[in-house]
Amino acid sequence: MSVTPNHKSLLTLSAISHKFDGQEALRGIDFEILNDDRILLVGPNGSGKSTLLKAISGIITPSKGRIFWSDNFISAKYQAAYFGEDSQLYRPLSIEENLQLFLDVSGQSEDLGNILKTWDLQSYSKTAVQNLSRGTLVRASLARAFLLNRPLLILDEPTNALDTSGRETLARNLDSLRTQNRSSIIATHDLGFAAGFVNRVIAIKSGLIKRDLRGSFEREQLIKIYEESCL
């Protein structure tokens, strides 16, 4: 996989394997993420997708192997922004208070108003997170992940609970990633959604990488790749 000149390596995974209470989630993963990669991670349930994403984000430390972030990034433990099945928002607080908290904590001073507008959450901004519908909660959590301007954005099954307008908002924000030169890695079964956006596909099955292809893909190609490598 030749690295074209203007692509810079963001991070490298070497021999990542992870085992918890007896069963092996990952069995030796090696690949490199470049700074403008838009990766689609596909694989059947239980193939280790979420474990891999949690390992990259730093939530779990893999039992074997290391993750090397390339040189000039801060040496902090957490380098990526992560969205997963936990919304990582405080239930008794409102969306506005939550997002303001995450802005302050990450030392950024973006305007909260337009963040709410881009994710059309203005009408819910005052209600406590625990009273929100599943879709709004996912949008709020996506807003939290997107507002952290980190070099890598990790999205684990973002489209599950989103309605059509939610998916459009997500697609719009993903496109804006391209301009901000931030790479992303998305795990989803909604191949149609990812088709126009991703420039690299990684297929994973029972803890091992089966395919790693670059280029732009149509929906049918993605389905073919998925069927060949994962079924």
Binding site: K19, F20, D21, G22
Partner: protein
């Protein structure tokens, strides 16, 4: 270390515990004269102090393995701290039991509120806590949690001893045998020394074997 080296070291350790134990028993029962005031029951004293030394040794081991667990990612220190916690609790119970037997014989009360027994009572509660945490801890995180709690507990021991020393003198009833060198006869000191050595060496062999058992258990779990 090569496995055969381990095995040699272990046999040496077991032999040492047997030898030290026998010699200490010999000193206590055959050589040491009766203590004038308390008579033969005083002979339990040597193993009471020995067990106390073994308990402090275990607490030291727990503290050390907790620090090293955080310093290195090696899982061995976690198995060692499991073993040290259990053996520590065992010897702490021995200290309490021998203390009470001796207390009952000397002052016919089961539990005198004097400093040494109080600090061991607190230590026993702490060791019970450590072992409880091991049993009921969350499988993935218990290693870190137990190590963190071990550091909290180990740091607490000197504080407890300091606060007991500050207690007004009225509570001091413990025979100051050790401190004010009540031991007239030199064989008393020798017996006490070997009592300590025997108990500490038994403690190390127990920890050694328990660590091996623990690592086998973990091997079984992870297959």
């Amino acid at each position: 270390m090569k496995p055969s080296l381990f095995k040699k070291a272990e046999t040496a350790l077991h032999l040492l515990s047997i030898a030290l134990g026998l010699y200490a028993l010999y000193l206590v029962f055959m050589v040491v004269p009766n203590e004038r005031v308390m008579g033969p029951v005083q002979r339990i004293f040597y193993f009471h102090v020995g067990a106390a030394m073994a308990t402090y040794c275990s607490v030291g081991l727990i503290f050390l393995s907790a620090l090293l667990h955080f310093a290195t990612r090696n899982r061995f220190w976690d198995t060692l701290s499991v073993a040290a916690a259990e053996v520590g609790l065992l010897f702490c119970a021995v200290v309490m039991a021998t203390g009470m037997i001796w207390g009952h014989a000397a002052w016919n009360t089961w539990f005198r509120w004097e400093p040494r027994l109080v600090s061991f009572l607190v230590l026993m509660l702490i060791l019970i806590g450590i072992n409880l945490l091991r049993i009921f801890g969350d499988k993935g995180k218990v290693a870190n949690h137990a190590a963190a709690f071990a550091i909290l507990a180990a740091v607490n021991v000197p504080l407890v001893i300091w606060s007991i020393d500050l207690l007004p003198q009225s509570a001091q009833l413990h025979p100051k045998v050790v401190q004010d060198q009540g031991l007239k006869d030199p064989s008393f000191v020798k017996a006490m020394l070997f009592g300590m050595l025997a108990m500490v060496s038994l403690q190390f062999s127990l920890v050694f074997v328990r660590t091996k058992v623990e690592s086998v258990l973990r091997l079984k779990d992870s297959i």
